[in-house]
Amino acid sequence: MHIHKLEQYWFIAIAAVLGAFGAALFASILVFGVQVPTPVSRIDPQQISTAFPEPGLRDLGNKRYTAHFTAQTWFFTPKEIKVPRGAEVTFLVTSKDVTHGFFIEGHDVNLMLLPGQISQAVTQFNRPGTYNIICHEYCGAAHQTMVAKIIVTE
C-alpha cells in the first residue's frame, strides 16, 4: 500500500506526541510517585460492622494517620475529621449499600466506593483549611447532600 510522504511525516509526529505523553505518564508514576487505586481487599457489605474497623481517625505517630470511612445513602461516617498540617493520611473506605465516590477537594484522592470492595488512597495535608469530601458518584435521590469534611489545623 502506497503511503504518501507527507503522511509518513505525520505518523512520525503522531508517534512523537503520543510518546511524549506516555513518557510524562511514566514520569508521573516513577518520579513523582502519583498513586492510582489498586485492589486492597474484598469485604462482605452485609458484614461491615464486624469485618471493617470502627470508622474514624487513628494516630500512628510521626504525623502518620489512618482514616477509616464508611459510605451509605446519603452520608459518610465519620462526618468530620481533624488533622494537623503536614499529616500523611491513609484513607480506607467502603460502601455499605450502593456505588459511591470519595473525592477530596484540592488533594489527589479520587476513589470509587463499591459495595464489596475496600478502596485506599494516601495523601498529605500541607495547607490548613477545611476541605470537602464529596461523594462524586450518583447514589440516589439526595446524592448532592452527601459530603464530609477534613479540617487541617495549624
Binding site: H4, N110, A142
Partner: protein, 572 residues
C-alpha cells in the same frame, strides 16, 4: 447463502440523486424521524440541567425545577438514555441503511428484518421511557447496580440491543451478497466503515447484554438476591467504550466520504481511511478500563495495559485529522486559499451542511485532547467523575457526533420529505450558535471539574459550602453556554418542522454517495476473519485478567439491591 439461488449478478439498483425510492423513504424516514423525535425530548433537558447547576441562576430563580420532571436525576436519566442510546441508535441505523443501499446499489438483504429491528428498538424506547417517567428508573444511562430499576427499563434496553443485532445481520448479509457479485473490488469506503462499526458493536454489546440478562434483569425481577458492583461495571464498560466509537464512526463516514463531495474536493487517502476504521474497531474494546481507573477491584497492571491501548486508539483519530484536513485544504485552495494557512478560512462557511461538519471537527479537537488527558492514568485522579468528564463527552458525542448528524439532517431530511431544507440561514444560525454554546459549556464544565465540581450532581440541592469558590464562575459560564445551546436547539427544530410542513421548493442537495472504492485499497483490509481474530486476541489479553479479578463468586456477589429513591427502601 442467497447468492446460490439468485442470478450471479444482481442488476444494479439506480437511486435518484435528488429523491428517494418509496421503500427507502419509509424505512430511512421512520428511523430518522424517530431519532429526531427522541432527540427533541433529550436535547431540551440539557440546558435545564446546566441552569440547575448554575449557582447564579438558582440564586436568581430560587427553587426553580426542571419542567415536567419530578426531580433532577429523573431528567438527567432521560437526557442520557435518550440522547446517548436511542437518538444515536435510530439515527445511525437509518443513516447506515441509506448509505449501504445506495453505495452498493442494491436493496437490503431482508427489508422485513429491518422492520422487525425497527419495531424492537421502538418498543424498547417506549418501555425505557415508561420506566423512567413512572419514576421507577432514575438510574442514569450507566445504571450501575446495586441501584436497581423497574424490569421494563432493562427489557427495553435488551430489545434495543437485540434490534441492533438484527440491523447488523441485515447489513452484513447485504455486504456478503455484494461481495460475491464483485470479486476483487474494494467495497466503497462508507460501507467499509459501517461494517467495522457494526462488527465492533456486536462484540461490545455482548458485555452489556450479559450484564443485563444475567445480573440486572434477574435482580430487578427478584430472581437473584445479590450482585457485584465491580463485575457489573466491568461488563458495562466492555460495552461502554465501543459505544462511543459506534457514535463517532458514522460521523467519520460523513467527514471521509460525504464532505469531499459537499466541498468539491477529494479525500487524501481512501486506503488509510480504511486502516483508521479497522484500528478503531480493533482497539475499541481493550481500552475501556480507562473508565474505571479509580475502581478498587482492578489491578495496576490491567489499568496500565488499557492505558497503553488507549494511546494506540488515539492514532486513528489523529490519522483522520490529517486525511480529512488535507481534503479540506484541497477544498480551501480551490476556493482561493493560498499560502500555508489561508485555506483554513476559505471554506464554504455559508453552506450549513459543510459548516456543521467543520464546527463539529473544531469541537472534536477539544474532545480528542481532553480525552487523551483524562485517559492518562495519573491525571485521571484529578478528573475522574468531575464535571470535566461530561465537558469532554459533550465535545465528542454532543459535537463531533450530534452536530455532524444535524448537518446530515440538513440534506437527508429534504430527501425524506422530497422538499428543500426550509431555511438555510436558520440552519447556519443553528450551527454557529451550537459551536459557541458548546465551547462555553464544554470549557465551563472542564474548568469547574478542575476546580473540583463533581459531575451528575444537582447543586441546587447541595448544602452551603459544597462547591469550591473557584468552580462557581465556570458553572455559571457553562449555563450561559447552555442558554445558547437552547436557542440553537430551537432553531434546529424550527427547521425540522419547517422542512416537514412548510417547505415548497424542490430538493437542492444531492445525496453525497460514492458507489466505488479506491481501486488501490488492498483487499486484505476486507479479510474480516483476520481483523476480528486480532481484535479477539487483544480482548483476551486486555480483558481476561480483568474478568478473572472481578468475577469472584466465593467472596464477591454479596451486595443487596437498592432503589434510587433511597435507603433503606429495598426492591422486593
Amino acid at each position: 447463502m442467497q447468492a446460490a439461488h439468485s442470478p450471479r449478478r444482481l442488476p444494479a439498483l439506480t437511486f435518484p440523486s435528488f429523491a428517494m425510492l418509496a421503500s427507502e423513504q419509509w424505512l430511512v424516514g421512520s428511523h430518522i424521524l424517530t431519532a429526531l423525535a427522541a432527540l427533541f425530548l433529550g436535547i431540551f433537558l440539557g440546558p435545564f440541567q446546566a441552569f440547575r447547576r448554575s449557582p447564579f441562576f438558582m440564586e436568581t430563580f430560587t427553587d426553580w425545577q426542571i419542567p415536567f420532571f419530578s426531580y433532577y436525576y429523573q431528567a438527567l436519566t432521560v437526557h442520557g438514555v435518550i440522547n446517548a442510546l436511542f437518538f444515536t441508535t435510530f439515527f445511525i441505523v437509518g443513516f447506515s441503511y441509506f448509505v449501504t443501499q445506495r453505495s452498493l446499489e442494491r436493496p437490503l438483504w431482508q427489508p422485513s428484518v429491518a422492520w422487525a429491528a425497527f419495531a424492537s428498538i421502538f418498543i424498547g424506547l417506549g418501555l425505557v421511557l415508561y420506566a423512567i417517567m413512572a419514576q421507577r428508573a432514575s438510574v442514569l444511562y450507566t445504571f450501575y447496580p446495586p441501584l436497581i430499576a423497574h424490569p421494563t427499563f432493562y427489557i427495553g434496553l435488551v430489545l434495543m440491543v437485540v434490534g441492533t443485532w438484527l440491523v447488523a445481520l441485515n447489513l452484513f448479509m447485504t455486504y456478503a451478497s455484494w461481495r460475491s457479485d464483485h470479486p476483487g473490488e474494494p467495497v466503497p469506503l462508507a460501507v467499509f466503515a459501517l461494517l467495522t462499526n457494526f462488527a465492533m458493536w456486536c462484540v461490545g454489546t455482548l458485555g452489556v447484554a450479559a450484564e443485563i440478562l444475567f445480573m440486572l434483569l434477574p435482580m430487578s425481577l427478584g430472581w437473584v438476591k445479590t450482585t457485584d458492583s465491580q463485575a457489573a461495571r466491568a461488563l458495562f464498560w466492555f460495552f461502554g467504550h465501543p459505544l462511543v466509537y459506534f457514535w463517532l464512526i458514522p460521523a467519520y463516514v460523513s467527514w471521509y466520504t460525504m464532505l469531499p463531495k459537499q466541498t468539491n474536493s477529494k479525500l487524501f487517502s481512501d486506503p488509510l481511511g480504511r486502516v483508521a476504521f479497522l484500528m478503531l474497531m480493533i482497539f475499541s474494546t481493550p481500552v475501556a478500563v480507562h473508565h474505571m481507573f479509580t475502581d478498587p477491584g482492578i489491578s495496576m497492571v490491567s489499568k496500565a495495559i488499557h492505558t497503553f491501548f488507549t494511546f494506540i486508539v488515539a492514532i486513528p483519530s489523529l490519522m483522520t485529522a490529517f486525511n480529512v484536513g488535507a481534503m479540506l485544504e484541497r477544498a480551501g485552495r480551490k476556493r482561493g486559499g493560498t499560502g500555508p494557512l489561508s485555506w483554513l478560512w476559505h471554506q464554504d462557511f455559508g453552506n450549513p451542511v459543510v459548516a456543521a461538519q467543520i464546527c463539529a471537527m473544531i469541537l472534536f479537537i477539544m474532545g480528542g485532547f481532553s480525552g487523551i488527558i483524562q485517559a492518562s492514568l495519573t491525571l485521571n485522579i484529578a478528573l475522574h467523575n468531575t464535571s470535566w468528564i461530561p465537558g469532554h463527552f459533550h465535545m465528542t458525542l454532543a459535537s463531533a457526533t450530534a452536530l455532524t448528524f444535524m448537518g446530515i439532517t440538513y440534506w437527508l431530511l429534504p430527501l425524506i420529505r422530497n422538499r428543500a431544507l426550509w431555511n438555510r440561514k436558520v440552519a447556519l444560525g443553528q450551527v454557529y450558535t451550537w459551536l459557541v454554546g458548546m465551547l462555553l459549556f464544554g470549557h465551563g464544565m472542564g474548568a469547574a471539574g478542575i476546580a473540583g465540581a463533581p459531575r451528575r450532581t444537582d447543586f441546587a440541592g447541595s448544602p452551603a459550602g459544597y462547591l469550591s469558590v473557584e468552580a462557581i464562575p465556570w458553572l455559571n459560564s457553562a449555563a450561559i453556554g447552555g442558554a445558547i445551546l437552547l436557542l440553537s436547539s430551537i432553531l434546529f427544530y424550527v427547521n425540522v418542522i419547517g422542512t416537514l410542513a412548510f417547505s415548497t421548493k424542490p430538493v437542492e442537495d444531492e445525496a453525497p454517495i460514492s458507489t466505488t472504492g479506491d481501486p488501490h485499497a488492498p483487499l486484505i483490509l476486507e479479510r474480516w476473519s483476520l481483523w476480528l481474530g486480532i481484535m479477539f486476541v487483544l480482548i483476551v489479553i486486555a480483558w481476561g485478567p480483568v474478568f478473572a479479578q472481578v468475577f469472584d463468586f466465593t467472596n464477591g456477589f454479596k451486595s443487596l439491591p437498592f432503589s434510587p429513591m433511597g435507603s433503606p427502601m429495598q426492591i422486593k
